[in-house]
């Protein structure tokens, strides 16, 4: 088990013939991810060679989903077309039993995302992860299911769930679990944009319901109040231990720190508030990401899930 994607997931790549689509598609296939096709308008009928594996290209998502039975898509199209790609995927999945949309693209206009998220939310069976995120990965026994741009080799199948707003900080959290001999069920990068699909609470809830996941590492950052809301949800609903870190304690107010959403505005969204909310909720806090491993061990020992 894992959340949302596993070895049986059938994956499409939107923008498969573009540079990013081909580059990352190849790496997904190397990890044994089941890529069943791709979409590039106007290039339907062609085949793309991804490391010796021929993958069919379709003109649109409707055709791609109905012909391949795909239930996951990953979007590598440029920012100006990305929201359109999300709309198209949402409609195609809605007509074919639902699915997961993972949008990697960075720099999508905020108003486009407001409309795209509203569209996705109209359909019960459709979920969006991202945009501006590394994607989602569920390590398996031989490779696994990698839907995104993360380096696959740092992962190992295990029992820890990871959810994070930041890309490389997710990898850091993965490396921390590995440093204490723990692997991962699923790692989800939810992205650092102000408007995105899946949030912390969706992920926490899925990990809470997942039989294989025993603990969750949650990485937040300054801006907005998603971490505070997640902390409250943890206090009320989560039986599994949660380990938390928040990036941006030293960020000055009013300055965007790389991610569009990472900004302290009007004195709100500080790391101090978020850490305090974590502590109130009984979340195991790491103040230094290099200590996530040790804090995780402490949490697992206290929960009787590990000797030491």
């Amino acid at each position: 088990m894992a959340i949302w994607i596993n070895d049986d997931s059938k994956i499409l790549i939107q923008g498969i013939t573009g540079k990013q689509g081909t580059f990352h598609g190849t790496r997904m296939i190397r990890y044994n991810t089941n890529v069943v096709g791709g979409v590039t308008p106007g290039k339907g009928g062609q085949m793309v060679d991804l490391e010796g594996i021929e993958v069919p290209v379709f003109n649109n998502m409707g055709e791609a989903v109905s012909k391949t039975g795909a239930n996951v898509t990953v979007i590598y199209v440029p920012a100006r077309f990305a929201a359109g790609a999300i709309h198209e995927a949402a409609e195609a999945f809605n007509e074919n039993g639902g699915g997961l949309i993972v949008c990697i693209t960075e720099g999508i206009p905020t108003l486009d995302m407001i409309r795209a998220v509203a569209k996705v939310n109209e359909f019960d069976g459709v979920r969006l992860i991202g945009p501006n995120c590394p994607g989602i990965i569920s390590p398996g026994l031989d490779g696994g299911c990698k839907v995104g741009i993360m380096p696959a080799f740092i992962h190992k199948k295990g029992r820890i769930g990871i959810v994070s707003k930041s890309g490389t900080l997710t990898y850091e959290a993965v490396a921390q679990t590995m440093s204490v001999d723990e692997g991962q069920t699923t790692c989800v990068g939810i992205g650092g944009d102000p408007i995105s699909g899946t949030g912390f609470i969706d992920c926490l809830q899925a990990f809470e319901n997942d039989r294989e996941t025993v603990a969750v590492v949650m990485i937040g950052e300054i801006g907005g109040s998603a971490e505070e809301e997640a902390a409250e949800w943890v206090a009320d609903n989560m039986s599994k231990p949660v380990i938390g870190f928040v990036a941006g304690s030293t960020a000055p107010p009013g300055k965007r720190m790389g991610h569009a959403g990472a900004i302290i505005s009007g004195g709100k969204g500080t790391a101090a508030e978020k850490f305090a909310a974590f502590e109130r909720a009984g979340i195991y806090v790491a103040r230094d990401p290099s200590e996530i491993g040790q804090v995780l061990v402490r949490a697992l020992v206290e929960a009787g899930l590990r000797e030491s």
């Binding site: 407001i114 380096p151 930041s166 650092g192 998603a226 990036a247 000055p252």
Partner: protein, 402 residues
């Protein structure tokens, strides 16, 4: 990206939002000509800088540092007043609570007709991250800091949300204008204004429109007395006109240059430079430096597409800051390979003649190869394997005197 009040008001006029008559000026003589042509005895002479708090700011002579005038927005009752105020504003340094101690040199002014104020309101349109929609927020307590109003009298703030697919609902607008105590002509003007501002927000891809104060005049008209407008930078590609209203003097020169190179850089006050891949990891690196007693000099994310050229440029930008006494490089290789970064670090260090202590932490793709490249090189560098170690090491090597 923000624009000046005079530019925002021009845009308001285009969308049918009532604003007082006003003229943009760049000199005392232009200000006097503006006064003559407006034909209003009472006018406001307003400094044009992007930062807020102009009215309560102070102007200083940039050469001598001597205080010239209190207040960056002045009400003039005569031609002589206009002359005096514009002389005190133009070319001087305006310091407000939002500019920081260095303030901003004022090179643009706005001379605007006065108006008879009956009541001051607050109105803003912005993106609500939690509700994932556009929020319209209004208050009966205009002319005050909205954060203070939210803190002290939250009941004075009223909110409505636009439907992401269908826009603002007329009934919501009606109830908002009623909550503000508006009736008759003022209420219908408010309804029109909400519609116009919302269209502007969508058409222009705004990130924020703030009017503080929005006034009801003694004759019942609703007029935007101030205007603060910001744009979503992700939407630049579909608004080429923005280049024409952008004031580069309002932005940090080094941040613009970094941005042009695909780097994301923010200058801070400390002495340890950071060069990191990924925004979250870059913030975390700063935090950990501070945790172990140091002070970060900057935020710098080299991004996923970094090259030898952009890494060398990143070192140069870090070293432009004279406070920098040491540099921490923290790379978690994904698409970026640590050995490529290692070679770039060596080249940059030789090209620039790097003299400050350098600590490099590699993890992820080709981290062993990267470490080997650095260890075998003749540049002076400490390699470490965790962020903790890296932060402690760089703090120690500059003496940890913070």
């Amino acid at each position: 990206m923000n624009i000046h009040e005079y530019q925002a008001k021009e845009m308001f006029r285009e969308f049918g939002v009532r604003v007082p008559e006003g003229i943009h000026c760049k000199s005392v003589s232009e200000a006097l000509a503006a006064y003559d042509s407006l034909g209003s005895r009472i006018v406001a002479v307003k400094s044009q800088i992007h930062a807020g708090g102009r009215g309560k700011g102070t102007l200083y002579d940039p050469e001598t540092g001597i205080e010239v005038m209190k207040g960056g927005v002045k009400i003039a009752f005569s031609r002589e007043d206009v002359e005096e105020f514009s002389k005190n504003i133009c070319g001087n340094r305006l310091v407000t609570k939002q500019t920081g101690p260095n303030g901003k040199i004022v090179s643009n002014m706005y001379v605007e007709s006065g108006c008879d104020i009956d009541h001051e309101f607050y109105l803003a349109i912005l993106v609500d991250r939690d509700e994932k929609s556009v929020l319209v927020m209004a208050s009966t307590e205009g002319g005050m800091d909205i954060e203070e109003v939210a803190e002290n009298t939250p009941e004075a703030i009223h909110k409505i949300w636009a439907d992401p697919l269908n826009g603002l609902d007329r009934n919501d607008c009606l109830s908002l204008s009623r909550s503000l105590g508006l009736s008759g002509d003022s209420a219908s003007q408010m309804m029109e204004m909400l519609e116009s501002l919302y269209s502007m927000f969508i058409d222009k891809d705004c990130s924020m429109i703030e009017i503080n104060p929005l006034v009801r005049t003694k004759t019942g008209s609703m007029v935007a007395l101030d205007a603060k407008v910001g744009f979503d930078e992700n939407a630049h590609f579909r608004h080429p006109w923005r280049a024409g209203v952008r004031d580069l003097s309002e932005e940090e020169d080094v941040e613009i240059r970094a941005n042009d190179l695909g780097l994301s850089y923010v200058k801070l006050d400390g002495n340890i430079g950071c060069l990191v891949n990924g925004a979250g990891l870059a913030m975390a690196s700063m935090d950990v430096i501070k945790l172990y007693g140091g002070e970060p000099a900057n935020f710098l994310d080299i991004g996923g597409g970094a090259t030898k050229e952009s890494i060398t440029a990143a070192f140069r930008i870090i070293l432009e800051d004279e406070n920098v006494e040491g540099i921490l490089v923290n790379i978690f290789g994904g698409i970026i390979r640590c050995d490529m970064v290692a070679n770039s670090v060596i080249e940059a260090s030789k090209e620039i003649g790097l003299e400050v202590p350098l600590v490099v932490r590699f993890s992820g793709t080709n981290h062993k190869e990267g470490k080997a490249v650095l260890d075998e090189s003749d540049i002076s560098v400490h390699t470490v394997s965790t962020l903790s170690e890296g932060a402690r090491r760089i703090v120690d090597s500059i003496g940890g005197d913070n």
